[in-house]
């Protein structure tokens, strides 16, 4: 246990010194300030928006869910940036620089070493994601007096998505150099987002081919599916035209959802970590 704390602390200190946190905090502050401004303008003008008389759209819910969806997307993005920069060089990068060897020859065990680095990054990213998500919720509540039907679960799903990205990034760091690994993880992340958007388009066009491709991508990259499920939850009580319009938008929510994908995500995470431990145990340093 003390070894876990020592290694996790080592990683944490590295992140502080490399100014990873400083950069992310500045970016986050800028995002939250802009987000507050957007909410402020949207909700003060809400009363001036009048849909045609025969169209029944709940403009406050529509605006709230749309803005929260945007916030969730940004939180996921910033969380993934943090996750990747905390972990992209955990094995190859640190080994190339000669930082890893003195640690590996200590009687700690490679599995403990790797999992400690994972845990350290996971704790940091979970706290970060929940904090940003919580602040975004508070901003929407304060400016627009709207809260989603489900508040905690979407945040946890976002955090879960980021934790999966951490596991993938650590797994990648065993076989790829830092730069290649960073590129690979961001490409996967981008592919996941694209697949999610494609799914929305597929449903709007009623194209089964696109829907299937999107569904397969959601299972292959479950961080994306968790994020989509979170989007689904924040608009789960919308119905009629409001719900229909939200579904059409970029933050439309999941078509693969519920406990199936949540359990699959846990299994996926465990497999990624187990593969990481296996590859690391066989890697020459």
């Amino acid at each position: 246990m003390s070894a876990v704390l020592t290694i996790a602390g080592y990683g944490f200190r590295e992140a502080v010194r490399r100014k990873v946190f400083a950069v992310v905090i500045v970016l986050t502050a800028a995002f939250l300030a802009l987000f507050w401004l957007a909410n402020h303008y949207v909700f003060t003008r809400l009363s001036t928006i009048t849909p045609p008389a025969d169209v029944h759209v709940d403009t406050r819910t529509f605006a709230g869910a749309f803005l929260l969806g945007l916030a969730m997307f940004s939180t996921l993005f910033l969380g993934v940036v943090l996750a990747v920069f905390l972990t992209l060089g955990v094995v190859s990068g640190d080994a190339e620089r000669g930082l890893l060897q003195p640690l590996v020859v200590r009687p700690v065990g490679r599995a403990t070493l790797l999992l400690s680095r994972f845990l350290g990054a996971a704790v940091v990213c979970i706290v970060y994601v929940l904090a940003v998500y919580g602040i975004a919720l508070a901003i929407i509540d304060q400016t627009g007096h709207w809260t989603p039907p489900s508040t905690l679960a979407p945040g946890l799903e976002l955090a879960g998505g980021v934790v999966i990205v951490i596991a993938l990034s650590i797994l990648g760091s065993i076989v790829l150099s830092s730069t290649a690994n960073g590129i690979a993880v961001f490409m996967l992340f981008g592919a996941g987002l694209t697949a999610g958007l494609l799914g929305t388009i597929g449903h709007a066009l009623n194209s089964t081919t696109i829907q299937h491709a999107s569904r397969d991508a959601a299972w292959a990259l479950p961080f994306e599916a968790l994020y989509q499920d979170g989007l689904r939850l924040i608009s789960s009580n919308t119905s009629g035209l409001t719900g229909f319009l939200l579904q059409l938008g970029p933050f439309g929510g999941a078509y693969v959802h519920g406990w199936g994908i949540r359990l699959w995500s846990v299994a996926y995470l465990l497999v990624a970590l187990a593969l990481g431990v296996l590859f690391f145990s066989r890697r020459d340093l």
Binding site: S2, A3, T6, G98, P102, P107, G109, D284, L285
Partner: protein, 286 residues
Amino acid sequence: MRTLATVPHALAVHALEKRYGPVQALKGVDLTVEEGELVGLLGPNGAGKSTLVKIAVGLVRATRGQAEVAGARAGSRAALAQLGYLAELFRFPGWYTADEVLSLHQRLTHSDGGAAERGRLLALVALADARGRRVDGMSKGMQQRLGIAQALVGTPRVLVLDEPTSALDPAGRRIVRVLLEELRGQGVSVLLNSHLLSEIELVCDRVAILRAGEVVAAGSPAELSRPRGVELETDEGTRTVEGATREDAARLVAEAVAAGRRVYGVRVLTSTLEDTYLEAVGDEVS
């Protein structure tokens, strides 16, 4: 059965092979280090010295063969608990102070030596004044000495040092030499890689010379630098009289002439470790 046989070697590798893709870095190496023994590993660049010690400390997996430290499989926690290692290329995080580097390694080795141990180790490598200095403010030689102090955290029984003096000035080298002799006095076993023959000759009990992944010569420095004979070049070809010394040279020439041979040259085979080394490895640089 003799009891000696049941005492495990401090470090032992047997029939060790390592292949990196097409490169066969080790081709079946046997080597042991006994308790309290200081063994030097010599060889040209690329001979496989670092590969051998990396396998012994569990950083690299052998393709074939065994490696053990204090009777435990190399790389296992039991083996690592007995081990101190200084890598050929290493770095400590630049933002750690000397004291913090040692403190980190104390925690990882479960050493309870505290500040007293850290102070003692820094003094051993002449870094007592640099205790609070950050690594990125240290010269290369200071970092290497800190690396040696780091390897000694937790009083390991077996020390593996890969070119520990490559960045050191003559005074620094002397500090390390004295330190190694002191450690041997305490029963610590050491496997030392170096290109500095004079250093190896001064401190090592035994030397193994590696060439292209094979041990080509092994023995004590005295054995390896014993007079090696006289070489006589006659019309019959070149012949080496093993064990002959300079004193025998004139007699050997006279005998050959008396036997009707034409003598073209005579050479007393020189006797330093350097000669043995160069003879064993050729002029190979890879």
